[in-house]
């Protein structure tokens, strides 16, 4: 078989696996329930908070803390046991006898689970954004308004960044599921990383600043070390445009690094090839 045929076969395998993953997700009640909770929370925050009444940017600021906490939870719930479950059931071994490559397998799992994740995250944010025109008071006619101060574009940027953030957390969870050899290991790794992402890195940064171990200039780099910090920096730098001096490039590299690094770890640890 030629290299081109190998590649075609690997892509076919990837889509076959992705399809099964997607079908599995929609048949898993716990994951569906969590997705519903996520969607209700996001829409509820938009409807009940004051953000939607003020416009798209205030809504982003309202949603940000909830999204930062809930997206990793959803990503981890979707992916943290996927590879491990296939390994424990023996299906990984059998898939290998069909010539499925590691990259095709991990790529397929990631694609299938990510499609579900993106649909839930983007769909929820879309509904939340739809509340803005409904809940916002009509523009006063006696003021000259600057459209650049608040626009749906800011929310779209936020939604796109949230999707990238969600994909990153899913990739990290997939790496956990591939690297862990027991369910206990997977749970310990998943909980440890979740806590580190959601509060650990921020707390360590504040503690380091308070103790004088590093200056304020180091903060963007430290925040970029966790997906949550990098996501937050990107939201403030790209979506909300607070005019901060630091370029969001560091945060972008941080988030992209976690995404690529996690997928690499997942591929390498999925199984050891037999020559």
């Amino acid at each position: 078989m030629s290299t081109a045929e190998d590649l075609t076969s690997a892509v076919d395998d990837l889509f076959t696996i992705a399809t099964r993953e997607l079908r599995t997700v929609v048949r898993t009640p716990a994951v569906v329930a969590l997705a519903v909770v996520f969607a209700l929370t996001v829409v509820g925050v938009a409807a009940a908070g004051s953000g939607a009444r003020g416009g798209y940017v205030p809504l982003v600021l309202d949603l940000l803390p909830f999204v930062e906490a809930l997206v990793p939870l959803l990503g981890f719930a979707l992916c943290y046991r996927t590879v491990l479950a296939d390994r424990r059931s023996g299906e990984l071994d059998v898939l290998r006898t069909f010539g499925v490559e590691r990259a095709a397998y991990i790529g397929g799992v990631f694609l299938g689970r990510s499609l579900a994740l993106v649909a839930v995250v983007f769909g929820s944010l879309f509904v939340a954004a739809a509340t803005v025109p409904v809940l916002s008071p009509p523009d006063p006619t006696f003021l000259a308004l600057n459209a650049a101060a608040d626009s749906p574009v800011a929310f779209v940027r936020f939604a796109v960044l949230t999707v990238v953030f969600a994909l990153t957390t899913a990739a990290v969870a997939l790496a956990v599921s591939a690297a862990a050899r027991t369910a206990r290991q997977a749970i310990a790794l998943a909980v440890g990383l979740l806590v580190a992402f959601v509060v650990g890195v921020d707390a360590a940064t504040v503690a380091g600043l308070a103790a004088g171990r590093f200056g304020i200039d180091a903060v963007p780099y430290l925040l970029a070390a966790s997906p949550n910090g990098a996501f937050r920096s990107l939201v403030f730098g790209v979506a909300v445009e607070t005019g901060q001096a630091t370029t969001p490039l560091v945060a972008l590299v941080g988030l992209g690094g976690w995404l690529a690094g996690a997928l690499f770890v997942a591929v390498v640890t999925a199984w050891k090839p037999v020559e």
Partner: protein, 259 residues
């Protein structure tokens, strides 16, 4: 090749042999040479060599923990030994149909869905109905896999192993959990596969059907082949009346503790 053809390709039954070397035939389905493996301090396979021809049925028998599953994983190329080599067919792309010792399937999918998923990994078109017929699961095609009995789950595992008509099939205790009628049917399927030219290596504790079906029986004890030959030869060499009795005479089970 099978007893039905009146041919035997290997005769050796030295109880203390450390390795069964076989001269490579012109074309082999499986060529495993010098396989050794240990889990920590426990040696599970010690310099094992095995060659299987197309159409041959080789049965691995031995006490629990004697290294059968590990050897079958090496032959299936889902695990690599510490040392030694395994070559399957003419090239690396020959697929091995593999039935693990405890097959499990993703819940929420039907029997037909499950087989259909695996058929997508083979190039030639596969008729799921034919496969289900072959393993006796036609009536359960629409049943969810979590609703299958242990024996039916194993039959589905066998069906999955046969997807794409592989040239080599490795079955780890395929008869475990099956009722006597299904055991007989399973060994009939194995015989049919061999008649079609498929090389079959299986492990089993069902020595009656093994004695009737296998071309060659390899007795594994303590990570080594302690006897190998046709069922009839093993029975005669042990001065026994059947394979079950011969097995008892050839294996010292107290040596396998902890393996």
């Amino acid at each position: 090749m099978s007893d039905r053809d009146g041919m035997v390709r290997e005769v050796a039954s030295e109880r203390d042999s450390t390795s069964e070397s076989v001269s490579a035939p012109s074309h082999v389905a499986i060529e495993a040479t010098g396989l050794s493996h240990a889990f920590g301090d426990v040696v599970v396979l010690d310099d094992v060599t095995l060659s299987v021809e197309p159409g041959e049925i080789v049965a691995l028998v031995g006490p629990n923990g004697s290294g059968k599953t590990t050897l079958l994983q090496f032959l299936s190329k889902v695990r690599a030994p510490d040392s030694g080599t395994v070559t399957i067919g003419a090239g690396d792309r020959t697929r091995v149909g593999y039935l693990p010792q405890r097959p499990e399937f993703r819940e929420g999918f039907t029997v037909a869905d499950t087989l259909r998923f695996y058929t997508q990994f083979v190039e030639e078109g596969v008729d799921i109905g034919t496969t289900l017929d072959r393993v006796g699961l036609s009536g359960a095609a629409d049943r969810r896999v979590e609703a299958l009995s242990g024996g039916m789950t194993r039959l589905l595992g066998l069906g999955r192993a046969l997807v794409g008509d592989p040239d080599v099939v490795v079955l780890d205790e395929p008869a475990s959990g099956l009722d006597p009628g299904m055991v007989e049917r399973l060994f009939e399927i194995v015989a049919e596969l061999a008649d079609e030219g498929t090389a079959v290596v299986l492990s089993s504790h069902n020595l009656g059907p093994v004695e009737r079906t296998a071309d060659r029986v390899v007795i594994l004890d303590g990570g080594r082949f302690v006897a190998t030959g046709s069922p009839q030869e093993l029975v005669e060499s042990a001065g026994a009346t059947d394979l079950q009795t011969a097995f008892g005479a050839l294996v010292s089970t107290e040596e396998v503790e902890g393996r």
